[in-house]
Symmetry: C2
């Protein structure tokens, strides 16, 4: 049991759209990701997903509701089954924390060049 300095963990990886695990509790993973430009449309049929932003502004498009902007110190919970597309504006790199069940697949049932199948602990 040890205190985790989140910004130190962000220094441990650079690859975009590749979440890394920093904690686990109650069957949920705490993950960090650095993201830039566009991601793929996807949903998670059985898992709600939480985005908490540390740096930059994350945008999320939805099929039938307005795009949400999530800035530093802000969070958004995307309910299960809601298709979403995360992206960043003008090439900005955004740092974010994710909360989701251990079994959550990176891009749901969508297979994409950006899909990561085996997440790493840092």
């Amino acid at each position: 049991m040890k205190t985790i300095t989140v910004n130190d963990k962000f220094e441990k990886f650079n690859k975009h759209w590749t979440p890394h695990i920093i904690g686990e509790l109650n069957g949920q993973y705490v993950k960090l990701a650095k993201v830039k430009d566009d991601f793929v449309w996807h949903d998670h049929a059985d898992e709600d997903e939480m985005f908490f932003v540390f740096k930059g502004t994350l945008y999320l498009d939805f099929r039938d509701q307005p795009t949400q902007a999530v800035g530093p110190g802000e969070m958004l919970i995307v309910p299960r089954g809601v298709e979403h597309r995360p992206w960043t504006k003008d090439g900005e790199e955004v740092w974010l924390m994710l909360f989701e069940p251990r079994q959550t697949k990176h891009t749901g049932e969508v297979e994409d060049a950006k899909t990561v199948k085996e997440l790493q602990w840092i």
Copy 2:
């Protein structure tokens, strides 16, 4: 589905040691708390608990390991069954986010004057 500005939520309450709910996902609550001075020793037999600090430094004592300090941007996961006592130094008010299962009792099986039984959404 709406972006939540966490600092705005902190402005909505002042009572110490009284977590307020700001989100729910996968059977877990996201809660905010303002804490100051000493809390009661307790554990949660079946729930891991995550502390993420926004402001100030939270200290956690444990029965058989060193006290941990958790500052802004830092987090600590306390596994189920591990007795802990949160406190703050020199009367500092600390702002923190908690992640824990919906059914988690505030002070476990301990009943104390500080125990809150019905949490409020903000």
